[in-house]
Amino acid sequence: MDISELHAIAERERARRTSIRIHCCTSSGCMASGGVVLHEQLTKAVSAAGRQAEIETVAVGCMGFCGLGPMVVVEPEHLIFERVRPDQAAELVGALAGKPCSIERGDPQHPFFARQLPIVRRNGGQINPERIEEYIAAGGYQALYHAVHDLEPNEVIEELTRSGLRGRGGAGYPTGLKWATVAKSRGERKFVVCNGDEGDPGAFMDRSILESDPHLVLEGMCIAGYAVGASQGYLYVRGEYPLAISRLQKAIGQARRLGILGSQIFDTAFDFKIDIRVGAGAFVCGEETALIASIEGRRGQPRPRPPYPAEQGLWGFPTLINNVETLANIAPIINGGADWYASIGTAQSKGTKVFALTGKVRNTGLIEVPMGISLREIVEDLGGGTPDGVAVKAVQTGGPSGGCIPASLFHTAVSYETLAEVGSIMGSGGMVVMDASTDMVELARFYVDFCMDESCGKCIPCRVGTIQLHRLLSRIRAGEASRAELDDLEQLCNLVRDTSLCGLGQSAPNPVLSTLRYFREEYEALCQPEP
């Protein structure tokens, strides 16, 4: 396969398309609210109206506004229909012929859409994720072609380094540097692993990318394989994501048939295979060394680093591990160039970040925003504030590893550094908005409860420390603790943070420490008065 064939596929696909496309979301969020049935009904309604020649219905991936699903968007006019019921299918098709229509209409200029900057979610809601032709018609696999034909592996890494991309799995490690380390590590074999474990409660950014644009992730993995010198990739997806898994399986099969995956990719000497590994839903298996153990067929437990996976990973060989969203940024960077990417965001945090916006906020769903946007813009402009208009109290970012940021700090610009400064983390992208009705002690207890349940039990501070934290928080919550015990709580937090083996334990106290920092009065109000 060469570039002209790639162009020919894109050409054929564009020629095949009808003039009007009804995009109906069939990803997990909208599927739960009837998206698949709706898609069927829409197809029937188009036939019933006899307009198959000019209108096609396309089962697309997530458009982000999941709170208003099932979402239907009619292109090219970009008419947005929200909360469409299957029995409204005929009405919707009728509306395209100018008939009256009672379905809720969305405003494309709504800040929820207008303030976003889709890079990794660009194809979400635009293409049918189950057809590689649609991905190719949207410019897919050109970055891979360009990389393997026109660039040396070190040039690919150079481009990534200049782009300033940092890992989206939580820690924000510079991606170019990680790739360079794996490329330089010596090993008979090397591996690329895509981390799609996404275990944070409330987070579904990676699921949405995998479901809506699986080829984007495969393309990123292939380019990674070329750059670091690996010929095998593993996509580790949690078992709770059956739709993502089945779409990835389809996508891998399609890419293999076209010669885009497998041996001699695009007629070069580069071979790359991708296999899926399904996780059994343990949060700790998202930690890279536990994930490696899990792929190797061992108990999913972290081990101390160093050695880092870049030097000794899967079966002891140098292994590149990147998050789904990180890998989804690769093809856009190769296509758009490092300078373009580096022009987005702040000095230290480049590009965009996808957040799952939930909680006490009018507009919930997935948003992709440029780094540097303020929390206030996210909560108030995109999110539309609280549904009943009461004041927002705080946002929680980073899930069980993150912290709460009070409304007084909403001017904070979103970047790895600034979020860490205010005691939270960027994390993988969960963002929960809270109003005055949220009990911060209970919130902290909820996250500690999660970490306690998910602790693998290998190291003592996390295994026993988290349960002791939970006991103490429960006592405080029940009004049984004295103020002096708040100091005990803080000391125990420090112990767990400083001595745990892996990131799970090290960050488990964050929700407690950050609420103690900003909402100490809520803790104190629950404590027994001093004698």
Partner: protein
């Protein structure tokens, strides 16, 4: 093999390349408390008792899994480390039911020694007091989960020295338990050769010879080490 010079607690120490900070400290007569470490077994860095401060590292590092390097500056006994170690030992005592007065290993127990070493006077945490099983289905040995600290020394001794891998861990968090074979009673674990290496490796009274009573179990962990070194010399 080349040598490395490092500073441990202001003392200059020379160590072999590739050696751990724990080994280097011990050669220099500096004690760092350990629990999951046992000479001859692989290091898992799980108990966190051997954590030390290393200049230039923002995190505390486990001495058993940290390789010496030239010019390294290590602190093994700062007030912060002392406090953390004591707290970790207390956490262990609060986790299961360590009632020394009725334990077969009393007086010959690494956990007791640790408590003395870190100066534990009381346990500040709530005792979790779980109800744990005692498995006496094996003809020669028993396992009392009340005393287990999940150090996995038995797991590694069985796997790495005896080469059998009868032991492993099931469950997670505080619900984690050592198991034999696919979580069957030890007496039904067909892979077990009854060699007793797990008994030698166990730091507490969790694994005990049947028929022993309070404070009777004396064991010499170094026999595992002897086996490992002998093997090392032969190969």
């Amino acid at each position: 093999m080349s040598a490395r010079t490092l500073t441990i607690n202001q003392t200059l120490v020379s160590a072999r390349e590739g050696e751990s900070v724990l080994e280097a400290a011990r050669d220099a007569g500096i004690t760092i408390p350990t629990l999951c470490h046992l000479d001859g077994l692989s290091e898992v860095g799980a108990c966190r008792l051997c954590l030390v401060e290393v200049a230039g590292s923002s995190r505390l590092l486990p001495a058993c899994r940290t390789t010496v390097s030239e010019g390294m500056q290590v602190q093994t006994d700062t007030p912060r480390l002392q406090e953390y170690r004591r707290a970790i030992v207390e956490l262990l005592f609060a986790e299961r039911n360590h009632v020394c007065a009725v334990c077969v290993a009393s007086g010959h127990c690494d956990l007791q020694d640790l408590a003395l070493h870190v100066g534990m006077t009381h346990v500040r945490y709530e005792y979790l007091a779980p109800s744990c099983a005692v498995d006496t289905s094996h003809p020669r040995f028993g396992i009392d989960h009340n005393r287990c600290v999940l150090c996995t020394r038995c797991v590694r001794a069985c796997d790495e020295v005896e080469g059998v891998h009868t032991w492993d861990i099931a469950g997670r968090g505080v619900a984690a338990r050592v198991i034999t074979d696919l979580n069957v009673p030890w007496g039904e674990a067909t892979s077990c050769t009854s060699c007793g290496k797990c008994l030698l490796a166990c730091p507490t009274g969790a694994i005990f010879p049947r028929g022993s009573t309070v404070a009777e179990v004396q064991r010499d962990h170094s026999s595992i080490t002897r086996i490992m070194t002998a093997r090392g010399e032969r190969w």
